[in-house]
């Protein structure tokens, strides 16, 4: 693995499967009387959150604490950031105090990349969501959830199959979704076939260069899907008319009981949260047996533990063999401002 986790495109298939296997071992920790491992004792993890978040921040905090790391939570509200301090000065402050990893969420796409490559800090940088760009740990936990339900074989060392050929539909506000972007990249790396479904106005420019198929027709995609991932409509980001009314959106792109009935028996329903019940997903679907939305949160802690352990546990990040020729990651650009997972 690289020193930083900035994009799902940074992960080779070996890297991603290593994270998932490690998470599989760490998941059992939740069932133990003492939910703690000593691996990161004495290491400091800073949660640097410039944007609001509940589950991602809590999940990273729980993950770091279960590995015995010291956690410093740093949110924009109530810090000098609200007085106008720059990212650079904040980074230099963190560096001066000494920290081993920075988990950053920022409204601007590329902020984690800037932090990692500017030389401001020596710590490992983990992207916890930047603008409308990427949210790689969300993609990892989604893949982990998919492996647990759809992986043809258990995540063993000789794991074959996995998600190869599985069809994943990602439905909704793709334009503003860093979750969709990271998932499209990672699921492609893991061999799954991704179909993005959205109204024409909610596809980003350049989506044809992504390693995915696209569709405007949800009803045509659902019967073939092995998993359906619903995205929140990020109305706080919308100042124009992306669709006529919320009611029309949910009639055409919302997952309700009628549409759920057209799914295959094994198909699972996912949502990265926060959900808007009645908009992209109805309550009966969100609370149905197919829904793995709560499990996604549980898996999030295990996956983030795996990421922190692999980046910080040793003298350097875990080494998986990398292809000798430098691979160009699929070019995915972002053209909208701000997003939420």
């Amino acid at each position: 693995m690289k020193k930083h986790l900035l994009s799902a495109a940074d992960l080779t298939r070996d890297d991603a499967e290593l994270v998932l296997r490690t998470a599989e071992e760490l998941r059992s920790l939740a069932d133990r009387p003492i939910k703690k491992l000593p691996a990161l004792r004495g290491r400091t993890v800073v949660n640097l959150f410039f944007e609001d978040s509940t589950r991602t921040r809590i999940s990273f905090e729980a993950a770091a604490k279960r590995l015995s790391a010291d956690v410093i939570n740093f949110s924009a509200k109530g810090s000098s950031l609200s007085k106008g301090e720059s990212l650079k000065d904040t980074a230099l402050t963190l560096e001066a105090m000494g920290c081993d990893a920075v988990v950053i969420r920022h409204g601007a796409s590329g902020a984690p990349h800037r932090l990692a490559n500017s030389g401001w800090v020596r710590a490992s940088v983990v992207n916890a969501g930047d603008g409308t760009h990427e949210h790689p740990t969300q993609a990892l936990l989604d893949s982990f959830t998919l492996y647990r339900h759809l992986g043809k074989s258990h995540l063993g060392p000789g794991n074959g199959g996995g998600l190869d050929g599985r069809r994943i539909a990602i439905v909704g506000d793709v334009l503003h979704s860093r979750v969709a972007r990271s998932n499209a990249l990672l699921l492609h790396t893991l061999g799954a076939e991704v179909t993005l479904v959205a109204p024409p106005t909610l596809f980003p420019v350049g989506v044809e260069s992504w390693p995915v198929e696209t569709s405007y027709d949800l009803d045509g995609v659902l019967p073939k899907a092995d998993a359906v991932m619903m995205l929140r409509v990020q109305r706080e980001r919308m100042n124009g008319g992306f669709f006529p009314t919320a009611r029309e959106y949910s009639r055409r792109y919302g997952l309700d009981g009628r549409r759920m009935a057209t799914l295959q028996d094994h198909t699972i329903v996912m949502h990265p949260g926060p959900m808007v019940r009645g908009m992209e997903i109805t309550a009966d679907v969100a609370d149905s047996d197919r829904s793995v939305i709560v499990e996604q949160v549980t898996n999030g802690v295990a996956v983030r533990m795996a990421v922190l352990y692999l980046l910080l546990g040793g003298s350097e990040p875990f080494e998986t063999p990398r292809p000798s020729a430098p691979q160009e990651p699929p070019a995915i650009s972002s053209d909208a401002e701000g997003a939420d997972a």
Binding site: E25, I34, K36, P38, A39, Y309, G313, S315, F318
Partner: protein, 195 residues
């Protein structure tokens, strides 16, 4: 230096011309049978005994001991795996390592007699890590240690209760345990063996 979980237990370039097989398949089988009987004798039966193998090769050894105890005593002994990677004292000295499975048998380890099973006892640091790991999993009534090979060179005050074979070695040698299931044959080989 601390011993890795698996087989290689000492630095030094292995000399392929000087490998020496010290235990073959039938030797290993006899040693495990004796260890199984000793475990039963020491604990006056198989009640409350839980076998925990340390991955990777401690796990198949624990399973084999469990089979033998079942054959002799007619009782099934819970058998599991205990990964100690995160408890190692040399975690920081090397790149992050991959985790191996931990499986604690149903019924847990509280008030049980836990027999740790590993292939090679060397510095004792793996066992120290295992004792720390056990501490986070429960409170056994007693902890005992069974190893296939004790090669000496302890760096900590730790000793095995049940030993398949004491193997005096020099620090430049490597002791490699091969077990069918993981490897293609049953054997204990000293690499770089000169005398």
């Amino acid at each position: 230096m601390p011993a890795p979980a698996t087989t290689a237990t000492s630095a030094g370039a292995p000399d392929p011309g000087a490998d020496r097989t010290v235990l073959d398949a039938s030797d290993i089988s006899r040693a495990l049978s004796r260890i199984s009987h000793e475990i039963l004798e020491r604990n006056k039966g198989a009640d409350d005994v839980v076998l925990l193998g340390i991955p990777s090769r401690g796990v198949p050894l624990a399973e084999r001991i469990a089979e033998r105890i079942a054959a002799v005593e007619g009782a099934t002994v819970p058998c599991g795996a205990l990964d100690v990677t995160m408890y190692r004292d040399d975690l920081r000295l090397k790149p992050a390592r991959t985790l191996l499975p931990t499986e604690i048998p149903e019924g847990g380890i509280d008030d049980k007699v836990v027999v740790l099973v590993d292939d090679v006892l060397f510095s004792g640091r793996t066992i120290r890590a295992a004792l720390d790991a056990l501490n986070d999993l429960g409170r056994p009534r007693a902890v005992q240690l069974a190893v296939l090979v004790d090669r000496g060179h302890r760096e900590l005050p730790i000793r095995a209760d049940f030993v398949g074979k004491n193997l005096p070695t020099s620090l430049v040698q490597r002791v490699r345990v091969q077990l069918t299931g993981v490897d293609d044959q049953d054997a204990v080989v000293i690499e770089g063996a000169v005398g």
